[in-house]
């Protein structure tokens, strides 16, 4: 498209050029608006409380302070949350990948007896669900309340991701499978030795989808985890950032625990920074896998 455009550049009218400039400006402004709040929060987390109250907005603090970080290190809740979330994310993603790939592979084989039946079973779950309460009662009856398994097992397969993986497996040339079969390889052997190694890109994308989902999950933890020692980072963060002023958003008084006082502005910002950093540090390295995963999904619907 770029080539096509350069040929016609001279012909462009003034009005058209103004539109072009406006598009650049609009896209640029939107892009900046997505990171500006983060820059402010990072700057604020290193600022003194006085500066935060006096200056409305800044990207470089006048006075540099690490007090907020000292506070959250002493408090420990955010770091405990980070540790717990890291565990849930790693184990959860492994469980997701094991269930998703083993389920997707047989469904990707067109000759599998009963394939339509199994596919219909999957489609039904996309159309209808029992809802929150039967799910909650099931988890509670299985004794999974207050256990990380409640954050990991109930979402073991995302049907959407499973279909992406299945479609990718389907694209792998059948000759490879045939050749392996002639050499006496079993279906399970083919899956592990041929299919999985050939699917690394899509597996990377999907495991990142799952990992981000686990890391950012707030609702499941709110629903299933009560034990403060098992608190994940999103819950800890919410407690620190949103519950100041002595009351929960629903008006009930809150328990500040051993700390006694409501956390202050810089502390809230520091907590936000500490819980966002793991994602933002990893993001530049994995960005291409995210786009790639969405594209694999998009091409085959």
């Amino acid at each position: 498209m770029a080539a096509a455009n350069s040929k016609n550049k001279i012909k462009r009218s003034v009005g058209d050029q103004i539109v072009q400039v406006l598009i650049y400006v609009f896209v640029g402004l939107f892009a900046v608006s997505t990171v500006l709040p983060f820059l402010y929060v990072v700057a604020g987390s290193f600022a003194t409380e006085r500066e935060l109250t006096q200056r409305a907005f800044f990207v470089i603090p006048h006075e540099f302070s690490l007090n907020a970080y000292r506070y959250i290190i002493n408090d420990g809740a955010i770091f405990r949350g980070l540790k717990n979330s890291l565990f849930v994310t790693i184990v959860g993603t492994l469980v997701n990948m094991a269930f998703t790939t083993t389920f997707a592979y047989p469904l990707s084989r067109k000759y599998l007896k009963g394939r339509n039946f199994f596919m219909n079973m999957v489609i039904v779950t996309m159309l209808f669900s029992g809802g929150m309460i039967p799910g909650y009662l099931l988890i509670s009856n299985l004794g999974m309340l207050d256990s990380y398994s409640a954050l990991i097992i109930p979402g073991a397969i995302s049907v959407f991701n499973m279909v992406i993986v299945k479609n990718f497996f389907q694209e792998i040339p059948a000759e490879l499978e045939e050749a392996a079969k002639i050499d006496g390889c079993s279906d399970i052997g083919i899956f592990f030795k041929i299919i999985l190694p050939l699917s690394k890109p899509v597996l990377a994308s999907i495991s990142l989808f799952y990992a981000v989902g686990h890391w950012n999950d707030y609702f499941s933890a709110m629903l299933y985890i009560r034990d403060p020692n098992k608190e994940v980072v999103q819950i800890a963060l919410r407690r620190i950032v949103l519950l100041a002023g002595g009351a929960n958003p629903d008006g009930s008084p809150i328990d500040f625990g051993d700390l006694g006082a409501p956390p202050e502005k810089a502390v809230k910002m520091a907590a936000t920074v500490v819980s966002t950093v793991p994602i933002l540090v990893v993001y530049p390295f994995v960005q291409k896998y995210f786009t790639q995963g969405v594209m694999v999904g998009a091409v085959k619907g």
Partner: protein, 313 residues
């Protein structure tokens, strides 16, 4: 590609049982996922029978008394129903109107940008908010909009001369939710459209230009048709989830002051069921939601197929 060629060793020979036996490895791989689906997806589906009971955890599924459609009658006859429908549909329709087209527009704009480093830079930035949690979105919103020292609050105050409490005033709640969604997901939502656009033949643009088409006509006659089927599929999914407003976001933004506009079906089910222990009533509310959702997806899919699109499944 010999996609449809079946491996020679598994042709149509032997009885059904023999073929199943030959595929035993595949069934073994299928088993964990199948058990998962049955336990965590199908059990809860049958669990909705408690919507027709007066369920008590002590009596269990089998001994709780049956009450027929009483829970549904209570729900539809009560005042809550209209408030919930107004809020849920209000947020959903605003999302459909503003949040749905936003990534399409942004993708069209990105597509117009020919300077490749600028485009890549913008893309990298606009994807970022997708990867952060709603807890962080909520805390950024509090930081920026609060009436004490929120920077956006101060800017708005300077412009309008009034203090606008976006975080608590019920009338701003829907706008706040839709705005957050656009900020968070608009950029990432462009990927799927940009992927469809990258497949457009450059010659189509050239031919149209030779015929004298300007920027808008190119967009209308070449670019939009290229992403039409992607738009339709996305629209079906949106329409199908018309009663899903998402849990995290609304839970985090609702408070005792804006609750009159913030209570949606999902939050209501949680408050009544998990917090309030009214299991049967809230299951009935959830079942109502599931059924409406199912009808919406199926009808949207039918409609899309009638319009000549490929549909969802």
């Amino acid at each position: 590609m010999a996609k449809n060629a079946q491996p020679a060793t598994i042709g149509k020979k032997g009885s059904l049982w023999k073929q199943i036996y030959q595929q035993r490895g595949l069934y073994l791989l299928l088993l964990p996922g199948l058990i998962y689906l049955i336990v965590f997806k199908y059990f809860p589906m049958f669990g909705v029978i408690i919507a027709f009971q007066n369920f008590s955890p002590f009596l269990g599924f089998f001994k709780s008394p049956w009450v027929g459609f009483e829970q549904f009658r209570l729900f539809f006859a009560g005042n809550d129903f209209w408030v919930l429908m107004r809020n849920t549909l209000g947020i959903s329709l605003l999302n459909l109107l503003f949040y749905f087209p936003a990534p399409i527009i942004l993708a069209l704009f990105l597509n117009e940008i020919k300077c490749s480093w600028y485009k890549r830079f913008a893309q990298t930035l606009v994807y970022i908010p997708h990867f952060i949690s709603f807890v962080i979105v909520a805390s950024l919103s509090y930081t920026l909009f609060n009436v004490n020292d929120g920077i956006i609050h101060e800017i708005l105050q300077a412009i309008t001369g009034k203090s606008i409490d976006i975080l608590s005033k019920p009338k701003y709640f829907w706008g706040l939710i839709v705005g957050q969604s656009i900020w968070k997901e608009c950029g990432y939502g462009t990927i799927v459209f940009l992927a469809a656009l990258s497949g457009v033949d450059v010659q189509l643009y050239e031919a149209a230009k030779v015929d004298g088409a300007g920027r808008w006509r190119l967009m209308w006659h070449v670019t939009l048709p290229a992403i039409k089927s992607t738009i339709v599929i996305m629209l079906i999914m949106r329409v199908g989830s018309i009663l899903n407003t998402g849990y995290d976001q609304i839970f985090l933004m609702r408070n005792s002051i804006n609750v009159s506009r913030a209570e949606v079906i999902d939050t209501y089910v949680y408050m009544r069921g998990v917090s309030g222990g009214q299991y049967s009533y809230s299951t009935a509310v959830g079942l109502f939601k599931s059924i409406v959702g199912m009808i919406m997806v199926i009808s949207a899919d039918r409609l899309a197929k009638k319009m000549g699109e490929s549909g969802l499944y």
